[in-house]
């Protein structure tokens, strides 16, 4: 009977497949093969993104008069890394970290000055960011390839599965860095410039200003009848300045202040909208530590309230050309800052710190 044959065949198939699934590594090997083929395609995509970013950097640097931009990029990539200070013994760690960060920054600036001696400061600052972006993309590629090859070498299907599941986010991040190249090449403000833009909107473009720390300005103006000293990086080139150091210098100069208000871009949660504004207490700054701790120390030493106003955005928004929603968010943040200032005693000055990259913003 045909039906009985089918029943027996299905039963045999069921027992056989159950045995193969439960007592052999075949399913894992099939998964390993599937995930490795998926990752391989994404690695090619990452390589194309890296090449695209490199092309954009070469184009920009050639336009600015650099003779051999390819070599300048190759000599930068893989070098200028920073080894974190010893954290087992935390005494002095901030001072050591600050020293290392500044020394690294100096080396990078010296390198760019060496390969690009005739460029303006603004072009050099933008070139620095481009070198860094290509460097980051090369590093992302290397790390992905490292785990991929490690997974293949030891047939580690868990490692392969983790990497495969992370790949869409990694590719998205790499694509964002590639897009950021366009913004830095054209010199448009990026989302991270929300802090410096808020400072400019709070005061005007004609107020007196002076350089108080390296690449960091202090602007003086009046808001709601109170004297305001606003700190921001020096633009319109790409720079974040040293807002912590600048804040300490300004506070020491003026003596007593009624409040310190920090304004910065903040990473939004997936459920939040770009351009949403929130406020609270603390130092709104995303540096590795030295600048933030300086702000907290100054506020604590002087017993001054430290407020934070943040404009929410995604990582993509933060490093690519500022969106219309962020500009609206900056205007809302300025209204909140004014509201805070209005409640402060009028006899003492207020300090506002606009944290972030000031590219495209004077």
């Amino acid at each position: 009977m045909a039906g009985e044959d089918w029943t027996s065949t299905l039963l045999v198939l069921l027992i056989l497949s159950s045995f193969l699934l439960n007592f052999t590594d075949i399913p894992q090997r099939i998964q390993l093969w599937r995930w490795s083929s998926y990752i391989r395609k994404r690695i090619i995509q990452l390589f194309e993104i890296e090449q695209d970013a490199r092309r954009k950097a070469v184009k920009y640097l050639s336009e600015q008069g650099l003779k051999d931009p390819g070599k300048a990029i190759d000599d930068f990539v893989d070098n200028y890394f920073l080894i974190s200070p010893v954290s087992l013994e935390p005494t002095d760690i901030i001072r050591r970290l600050r020293h290392l960060i500044r020394e690294r920054n100096k080396s990078v600036k010296a390198y760019v000055r060496e390969v690009f001696p005739d460029a303006s400061e603004e072009v050099r600052q933008n070139a620095e960011v481009m070198f860094e972006i290509v460097s980051v993309l090369v590093l992302i590629n290397k790390i992905v390839k490292h785990y991929f090859q490690l997974g293949l070498k030891y047939s580690n299907w868990i490692l392969m599965m983790q990497l495969a599941l992370e790949m869409p986010m990694i590719v998205r991040l790499a694509k964002t860095y590639d897009d950021a190249m366009d913004s830095f090449a054209s010199g448009t403000p990026v989302g991270d410039g929300a802090g410096p833009l808020a400072v400019r909107y709070l005061l005007s473009f004609d107020v007196p200003e002076r350089e108080v720390a390296e690449e960091t300005l202090v602007l003086e103006g009046t808001v709601e009848g109170r004297k305001v000293l606003a700190i921001k990086a020096k633009g319109p080139g790409s720079s974040v300045g040293y807002p912590g150091e600048a804040l300490r210098k300004v506070v020491e100069e003026v003596g007593r202040v009624s409040a310190i208000i920090t304004v910065d871009a903040a990473l939004k949660l997936e459920s939040e909208e770009t351009g949403e504004v929130s406020y609270g207490v603390g130092a709104a700054i995303g540096d590795p530590g030295p600048e933030k701790i300086e702000m907290e120390r100054v506020a604590a030493e002087k017993g001054v309230p430290l407020y934070a106003v943040v404009i929410k955005m995604s990582e993509e928004d933060a490093i690519t050309t500022m969106s219309e929603e962020i500009v609206k968010g900056v205007k809302k943040a300025v209204d909140i800052i004014k509201e805070i200032i209005r409640k402060l005693p009028p006899e003492e000055p207020v300090i506002v710190v606009g944290v972030g990259n000031t590219i495209g913003i004077r």
């Binding site: 089918w6 054209s186 448009t188 500022m322 969106s323 219309e324 500009v327 913003i361």
Partner: protein, 94 residues
């Protein structure tokens, strides 16, 4: 065994239906999903004239916030207030 048609029993029908469902699922899983497509972005420069009116124009290289320019409408002194990316609204989107 139940015979639906001559020579075709229920198992064969179930086998073919299962195969068809699996192939359909496989094909659908291979079609790339569309992610929140937005309109074509363009970079705009917002200029504020001394008269108080604001003009939006296409971004041109060399523009930066705080740059002093001529107002494209009246030719008076103006300043670049913002540079931002503007996405066209998707048709039919609320």
């Amino acid at each position: 065994m139940v015979q639906l048609f001559d020579g075709v029993d229920t198992y064969t029908v179930i086998l073919f239906i299962t195969l068809a469902v699996m192939i359909t699922l496989l094909v659908f899983s291979m079609i790339p999903r569309r992610t929140g497509q937005q309109g074509k972005p363009s970079i705009k420069t917002l200029i504020k004239c001394v008269d108080g009116h604001e003009v939006e124009r296409e971004f041109s290289r060399g523009d930066y916030v705080g740059k002093k320019v001529k107002c494209p409408q009246c030719g008076k002194e103006a300043v670049v207030m913002a540079i931002y990316i503007k996405r066209d609204q998707q048709p039919g989107k609320p």
